[in-house]
């Protein structure tokens, strides 16, 4: 019995031991489960916090984006307005300069006036460039596709740059390679913009010597040609490290450059983008102290034309001889190159005193340049040298009356101002040598204002608030023989229309009191007075932003002219509407 109890209590102990072990295991399990649960909760909280944080950040970013977009809109509006403000006075300058051509001007005055005109146009283009840059930034710039003459385009920039190079006493000339086609379809304004940009830079960084624009043909296919333009200077040059930074916006070779030479640093990055649009490349070869070569290539569509090419040989001045003395050897070679092409046998002299007599004094020319006035006066036998030649030219950087009278006293027959547009010399030579040029070889420098037949019967109302623009517009219209009246704003215009009949309205877009948009809507809604209800209305706006044109058409206008008013466009518009009116 005792034994049995003993056995039983033994098993009971073992049973309790096992139960205790089970409890320990269960307790452990519970603890581990709790730990797991808590771990899970912590993870869940972390995830929720992360989600909250992401949401918050997203909201912040959206707000920042909204702000940035608004700032961008404000910037665009600013550009639109500033462009308007700048264009209005320019309109006055360009318009008046055109009118000045039709007054009695002597050759020097014509030349000065031409410089004003070209410079104003460049300024206008610059304003466009600033707009362009914002478009470039937005990736919205497009190239025009219009026909242009490569030579004209390139030589035009000499006018723009002339005062800068002459001020610094530098030589500037164009060196043309052979076989370059002349007539293209492309964007000459943008091409000029790049050339002026690079050449202005070159002039800025060159203290003595020359800036040369070299043109060469890279490749040519049936329809297109790729042209290389190089602007080579004898300036300070740029080191390799600095070259790599040059094409990013607002960057210059270094910070000190800005202090010494000025500029925004926008030019090269605009140029780079434009070159890319012309399917070309842009680059620099330079070494500090050895000058720079800024070059770019551009591809244009070729165009057939009967217009004479500056790049073509035209040897009708055969039997003539020319002698050149010019300090700058490159310039002398370039002049010789042109004279050779016109059939003139040309010789370059390295010393002024050594120029002898021509073989035949009739049909002989002499060109002297790169000499200052004291050197001119010092050369003892200059007068007798000049007298040996039928025609003598002095290439002058200065335009002062003092140098003119010195030249006249010495016996020069004509002064040519630097930078000289040698191709244009051809006509002058022909005139001087009394040689008839074939009619189609004549280059129209500027199209004269012609009276159009039948315009006197067209009654025009010019609605324009700006006094300068009124004056320019009226003057041009009157010159063309039109019968034009002015209204200072929309309300006056509507009053005038009640009083008398008009055939055509030029309507400014932005005006006080009643703007062009509202005025047009009123006219189209029955306030046309004595005129026909469908009277053509042509919008004129300096605010040449995209979307304006659509707005004008929406209001019921029939055409669109961008200011400043260009005579040619005004003339074309009138001619177009003349038929409709009749």
């Amino acid at each position: 019995m005792d034994n049995l109890i003993e056995v039983e209590s033994k098993w009971e102990k073992r049973y309790f031991r096992e139960r205790e072990a089970r409890r320990q295991a269960e307790k452990l399990l519970e603890e581990k489960s709790l730990a797991l649960f808590e771990q899970n909760e912590r993870l869940k909280n972390l995830t929720e916090n992360l989600e909250k944080l992401v949401k918050q950040r997203t909201n912040e970013l959206e707000e920042a984006l909204e702000n940035a977009n608004q700032a961008n809109l404000a910037k665009r509006d600013f550009f639109a307005n500033i462009s308007h403000e700048l264009r209005t006075p320019l309109n006055g300058i360009i318009g008046m300069t055109h009118l000045l051509f039709d007054t009695n001007l002597n050759n020097i005055q014509k030349d000065f006036n031409h410089t004003i005109l070209v410079s104003s146009e460049i300024l206008l283009n610059l304003i466009n460039d600033i707009l362009d840059f914002s478009k470039i930034e937005a990736g919205k710039i497009e190239l025009e596709q219009i026909s242009f003459h490569l030579g004209e385009t390139v030589y035009e920039i000499l006018d723009v740059l002339s005062s800068k190079v002459n001020e610094k006493g530098l030589e500037l000339y164009v060196e043309e390679g052979s076989g370059i086609p002349s007539n293209f379809i492309g964007d000459p304004i943008k091409l000029k913009q790049i050339l002026i940009n690079l050449a202005s830079n070159a002039i800025k960084f060159t203290e003595r010597g020359e800036v040369k624009i070299r043109l060469s043909l890279v490749s040519e296919s049936e329809k297109t040609a790729e042209i290389k333009f190089e602007i080579i200077d004898t300036g300070i040059g740029i080191s390799n490290e600095k070259i790599s930074k040059l094409f990013s916006p607002f960057t210059q070779a270094d910070a000190s450059t800005n202090r010494k030479f000025g500029g925004t640093g926008l030019g090269l990055s605009i140029s780079k983008k434009l070159v890319e649009l012309m399917e070309g490349e842009i680059g620099i070869d330079s070494k500090p102290g050895c000058g720079s070569n800024f070059w770019f290539t551009a591809k244009f569509t070729k165009q057939d034309s009967s217009k004479v090419s500056y790049f073509e040989n035209n040897p009708i001045l055969i039997n003539h001889e020319a002698h050149i003395f010019e300090e700058n050897e490159g310039l002398a070679q370039t002049l010789k190159h042109h004279l050779d092409r016109w059939g003139i046998s040309t010789q370059i002299h390295s010393k002024l005193e050594e120029i002898g007599s021509p073989q035949n004094s009739k049909n002989s020319l002499i060109f002297i340049g790169g000499v200052n006035e004291s050197k001119l006066l010092e050369t003892t036998n200059l007068q007798s040298i000049l007298s040996n030649f039928e025609y003598s030219f002095f290439l002058s950087k200065e335009k002062s009356s003092k140098i003119s009278s010195i030249c006249r006293d010495l016996g020069f027959t004509q002064m040519l101002f630097k930078p000289t547009k040698f191709p244009y010399l051809f006509e002058e030579l022909c005139a001087a040598l009394r040689i008839e040029i074939h009619e189609n070889q004549k280059e129209e420098l500027s199209s004269p204002l012609t009276k159009l037949e039948g315009l006197e019967n067209i009654r025009i109302l010019l609605v324009e608030d700006n006094l300068i623009n009124q004056k320019v517009g009226l003057a041009i219209l009157n010159k063309m023989g039109c019968n034009a009246q002015v209204a200072g704003n929309g309300i006056i215009a509507l009053q005038k229309m009640q009083e008398q009949e008009f055939d055509l309205i030029f309507m400014d877009y932005q005006m006080p009191e009643l703007d062009g948009y509202e005025t047009t809507i009123r006219i189209r809604n029955g306030h046309h007075g004595k005129s026909k209800p469908n009277i053509p209305i042509i919008a004129m706006t300096a605010n040449a932003m995209k979307g304006d044109q659509e707005k004008c058409m929406e209001a019921g206008m029939n055409g669109f002219l961008s200011k400043p008013i260009i005579q040619k466009e005004l003339q074309d518009t009138l001619q177009f509407w003349k038929k409709t009116i009749e």
């Binding site: 033994k10 309790f16 031991r17 205790e20 072990a21 452990l28």
Partner: protein
């Protein structure tokens, strides 16, 4: 010390001696839990010291020999429960060499609070491994039993040298030569 060591020890005592022997050494040891162990628990190594020394006293077998036998037994049960630790190795020496840097790391993943002995190892030639056991618990004999268990399992090699070092650690030399 992991509860698994206790449960396996008591199982061995039950198999090799008797269930009464289990009762007796538990009674003699006056253990805090009344000798109730779960394999997933953790207990003081002093409890194991008491159990082993009481078994030695009861049976008259030296303590060291008991621990060696337990080590051999423990290896067999561990090999059955965790075969992947052994199957993954390229042989006896590779297995023994991987205790510190592989097996112990895996154990730590399951039982972060486990206090494990240190096994440093290096090959004196390509068939001879020197394995040094180092622990506060001084269970060098148990380690010897485990090594022997491994030799039996891999059916190769032999333990050629055992040396107690001055710092209390124990150096084993295992070779698979000949």
């Amino acid at each position: 010390m992991k509860g698994l060591i206790f449960t396996e020890f008591l199982t061995m005592v039950e198999q090799k001696f008797s269930i009464d022997m289990v009762d007796e050494i538990i009674e003699m040891s006056e253990l805090p839990h009344g000798g109730a162990y779960t394999s997933v628990g953790t207990y003081s190594h002093l409890e194991m010291n008491a159990l082993v020394s009481n078994l030695s006293q009861k049976t008259g077998i030296p303590l060291g020999s008991l621990l060696v036998v337990f080590g051999e037994y423990l290896f067999q049960t561990l090999a059955k429960s965790y075969p992947h630790f052994i199957n993954g190795s390229k042989g006896l020496l590779d297995f023994l060499g991987s205790i510190e840097n592989y097996i112990h790391i895996e154990v730590k993943k399951l039982y972060p609070d486990a206090e494990l002995p240190k096994f440093s190892s290096h090959y004196t030639d390509k068939n001879t491994l020197e394995l040094t056991y180092q622990s506060e618990r001084h269970y060098g004999d148990l380690a010897e039993g485990l090594i022997i268990g491994a030799i039996q399992h891999f059916k190769t090699g032999k333990l050629v040298h055992k040396e107690k070092l001055a710092d209390g650690s124990v150096k084993f030399v295992i070779t698979t030569h000949g």
